[in-house]
Symmetry: C2
Subunit: 627 residues, 2 copies
């Protein structure tokens, strides 16, 4: 088995462009290149400088459908693109217009940059300093910023927006100013995005889209994919490092796999689960790595997050003498506000796309091997491990993670209204294998960490950038991804009923929802079915937990949420249903009915929660960090 | 009369802080400083790093009310702040949280930068490189971007967002890292904003707001205002340049005043109108300068915009032998896509806050005097002009601008449905003296240029940055400004009935509205009355005029607009009314009723327009420029 087979999700296809004419318009080149890397839908807002590209979506020469998903605004489009990439594992594409559109999307792209999501942001630009007309080069055009102090005397800095993002919120960015190398530069940005798993930018003059370019790259490189573009490990290092890992493993009686987010971003969830199953090693997730490792497995022990872990999970983690941490991503949210700890004499191996670090918790000695890609190491581990040499010997009193690990206050069981602790206990029963669960930043996100998720499910949420309002448009992007790539996230088909269409389930707070709510309309427009739980706790509850619990700045305007889907386009209720859930009884009755029903439209549930209702996980977080 | 009296709108008051304690918390200092410059409302979204500042809004020590206007998202808040400043002529304040909130507002601040609007953007930041805790300095915290390639090995660039905006979309920006000079830096940014009429940024660690600082500046500089902070002209230059202008004026038989936007931004609309009235010189406006000069005056001749002008206006402009251009702002939208022309032997005098340029259109010779502020020149012109030396001799066949200058196709008069040419003819009759008219970027904006506006009205719209979706939240900001400063824009009280409360009238396209629509909710929350004309032309009509008239990318999802205000919080219809207007008859019947009625709530009119219905002004624009 080669890495080519190993990266099975990296299945971007030869676009079948062998017979493409030698010269084609740049717009056609760009869309064909997107098709070749598996990007089947493009998100954005039309604007004067990108209309020429949009025309190519309707061009018969494309021979393959590529969908345009017109969003209500650019920030929302950027979140949707982010979601598309998180779900599909492929590069998503965001299309905007210089300045007015592009800058609106910036925070969404920054979020993708923060969380290693592969978004290609294509910005249509206008006549610029390339123009033959001096008066255009040197004068103030719309969407541009005049010189700060001498706007009437000299021309604008045409590259001002490009200079803002270059090297800051993109791993690769090109401002196309030479049509003869435009295709090479497009490919370069795509290669960099694949390699670094960060966003990239292309600034393209709108006049370029109709200009003819060599199509050669589509023939010589019919696709661009992770297996070719990732950092490569030397054969020597692969062997050496794998042997070191195996030697640690053979010497350990209580090893653990710790799954972190880069495992997902680099497309080897399936392989890590295979490795877990074949070895029987205990599995933990980090916060950002949640749902990478199969939580239905008897080897799954829970989310470890330092002092913010459940007590039972922490005890198990601290009993392990070897931690093999795949896809490590170190930050305050993911590492328990830096309260991470290990067993006194534990050995720790951290694997990353660019390095492997060995750390001895007893001697505090470390050794770092640079230029080693964890993809290669995992590949060789699977193929060379000698299971007979494993000597696993876990304390049998420790059990697999279950819903019972979540301890909630006794009085919770006597209440009839809906609370977050109740949702922690009840909702996991409602999810089915294969379901996609999306949560916004907010109080409920902390509760969700310790849900027991079913097999083959995927949790999608921002864990570090933590912008509110992301999840609703992100769900749109995921839903479009599910149309383009059904069951894409399922790595073991046997665990999901073949007739079951995985659900898309969104948890959205009211304070978050008001930021980006109009994208409900786009869900209706493109017929994206999902279940939405609008957790209405009367404002910014997560902020009330930090400061100003009763201050009016933490209030929002009360809305009639259940009217929105009608207002936003589902006039006859043909695609959506909306209702309010106030009691546990109402919720259970409703969800029992929905549990195994296929999603054919949007079911919108406004769930009434208390203004100060939070989970113990959030309380722990607040206690662990002060603002 | 001194300049101090002359800048009558620059009436920021001594905050009455003579008895302020010597040391106060920085949060209190910042709010007191805002109060002292006339900023009575602050726009934004609460977030973890700005909550400590928000607490000071509730502090009894402030002794003056300063309002917090919580918006649905940061982009909308930035547009609202922009509108507040455009209306009040004062610095507006926008409050966000690092990264997640701040970047969302970026496009709005860029728009303010592009169009010379004074917005102070205060960004609450977290623990940073100032922290005593090494692990915080060097580790990845939420809202921040990890290092692009070595995020696990080294800390983030804490100043990355600051570096993006510094010198690009702000004339002044400070990242506070030393509490002992925090007040001075705050004052410096405010002074720069006043002087340059561009946005400024303050990045303030949330831990600073509660730290004690010297209040001294509030006593030594009880207010900061334009008259002290603007560029000053030397006495010598004031005299010399004024004499040159007067000498040109005395030698001219057909002079014209051309009012451009910087006149408004530097607060001398009243004075320019006084000068126009006392001299009887013809008045023209640029596109961006529209409504600065009183259009009800018999001296008002129309909007001149080069080849994109109405023919009758162009003829009048080209008959003038001297053009005195106040507050000049040169860009493609404002200068007829660079088709500006003058009478063959015209002399042109362009006045700006930092220079005056004399240009002879016959000899093409020019002379530029730097460091001359047009405020000083206008002041001296008014006080030294000898009216007896004027020798005005205009062709009597030219008439003042009237609604009749707008020629619309004959068949328009026979239609019963609503069209843009109809609106151009009908709506001006509906406006009353003193009304504030706001328009979004879009097809209708071009129609609006040649409306005949009543006296003391003010038109607010983006003319150069041209982002769609701005006007709706901008109207919120203007409405809050009208609460804080009623009749602020009226420079001649005799022209507006003393019992008439000026109306706020918003024209918003459907394609624009979907971008920022949730801010309707904030209008209800803070009880901001206005009339809204939602021009429903079924998508992006302005883009259809450029490309893809029937392409689906120019469509949007049809909405039930009249449900929105109920959904967004006006459950019982107590504050809002919504209705659909399909015919001219319906429109006229409705507006006749509303014309002189005081605005006590929101009247929302969905006006049904044709998908391809545009004004001749927009057709001209498309013909003048190609994408």
């Amino acid at each position: 088995m080669t890495v080519s087979d190993f990266l099975s999700k990296d299945d971007a296809k030869d676009g079948g462009f062998a017979d493409v004419p030698e010269r084609i318009p740049l717009g056609e080149y760009l869309l064909k290149r997107l098709i070749s890397i598996g990007t089947k839908s493009v998100f954005g807002v039309p604007g004067d400088y990108n209309l020429s590209l949009l025309e190519y979506f309707y061009d018969d020469n494309l021979k393959t459908d590529i969908k345009w998903i017109g969003c209500c605004n650019e920030l929302n489009a950027s979140y949707a693109a982010d979601g598309y990439s998180r779900y599909t594992g492929r590069i998503s594409c965001l299309l905007t217009t210089l300045g007015v559109g592009e800058l609106g999307a910036l925070s969404g792209v920054a979020g993708a940059c923060c969380e290693d999501v592969r978004v290609l942001h294509v910005v249509g630009i206008g006549k610029n300093e390339l123009s033959d007309e001096a008066q255009i080069r040197d004068r103030n055009m719309h969407h541009m910023l005049p010189d700060m102090y001498e706007g009437n005397m000299k021309g604008p800095n045409h590259r001002i927006y490009y200079e803002m993002i270059k090297g800051r919120i993109s791993c690769s960015s090109e401002y196309l100013d030479d049509i003869t190398v435009a295709c090479d530069r497009i490919d370069k940005v795509i290669r960099d995005i694949l390699r670094h798993s960060k966003p990239g930018y292309l600034f393209i003059p709108s006049s370029f889209f109709d200009q003819m370019v060599e199509s050669r790259n589509l023939v010589t490189s019919p696709t661009l994919c992770l297996k070719n573009e990732r950092f490569m490990t030397s054969e020597n290092d692969i062997e050496r490092i794998t042997d070191l890992v195996l030697s640690s493993l053979y010497g350990s009686s209580t090893p653990a796999l710790l799954g972190d987010v880069k495992t997902d971003r680099f497309g080897i969830n399936k392989q890590l689960n295979e490795f877990a199953e074949m070895t029987g090693i205990w599995c933990f997730s980090t916060v950002s790595g949640k749902s990478i490792l199969d939580e239905s497995s008897k080897y799954y022990m829970g989310v470890y997050n330092g002092n913010c872990s459940l007590q039972s999970v922490k005890e198990k983690f601290l009993s392990c003498d070897l931690i093999i941490n795949f896809g490590i991503d170190i930050n305050e949210a993911n590492y328990g506000f830096f309260s991470y700890d290990y067993k006194n004499d534990a050995k720790v191996i951290q694997l990353h796309p660019r390095y492997v670090r060995f750390f001895d918790n007893k001697t505090k000695q470390e050794e770092i091997f640079q230029n080693v890609n964890f993809i290669d190491i995992l590949d060789r581990l699977i193929h060379t491990i000698d299971l007979k040499q494993l000597g696993l010997s876990y304390d049998p009193s420790f059990k697999s993670f279950s819903n019972d690990d979540l301890v909630i206050p006794e009085h919770e069981y006597t209440l009839s209204h809906i609370t977050q602790p109740y949702l922690q206990k009840y909702l996991p029963n409602y999810f089915n294998p294969g379901d996609i669960i999306i949560s916004d930043t907010g109080s409920f996100q902390f509760a969700l960490r310790d849900f027991k998720l079913p097999s083959q499910s995927k949790l999608i949420t921002q864990n570090l950038y933590l912008a509110i309002g992301t999840a609703l448009p992100m769900a749109l992007g995921v839903g479009i991804g599910m149309q383009d790539y059904p069951r894409n996230h399922i790595f073991d088909d046997s665990k999901v009923d073949k007739d079951y269409k995985p659900k898309l389930i969104l948890f959205e707070g009211d304070g978050s929802a008001i930021m980006t709510v109009q994208e409900l309309s786009t869900m209706i427009r493109y017929k994206v079915p999902m279940e939405i739980f609008l957790l209405n706790n009367n404002g910014y509850t997560i902020e009330r937990a930090i400061k100003g619990p009763t201050r009016s700045y933490n209030d929002i305007m009360p809305w009639k949420w259940t009217l929105l889907l009608e207002a936003f386009g589902d006039f006859d209720g043909g695609f959506t249903k909306s209702e309010v859930l106030k009691t546990r009884k109402q919720m259970e009755a409703k969800l029992e009915k929905l549990k195994l029903k296929s999603q054919t439209g949007i079911e919108f549930h406004e769930v009434i929660l208390g203004t100060f209702d939070i989970s113990t996980q959030l309380s722990q977080m607040i206690a662990s960090t002060s603002q």
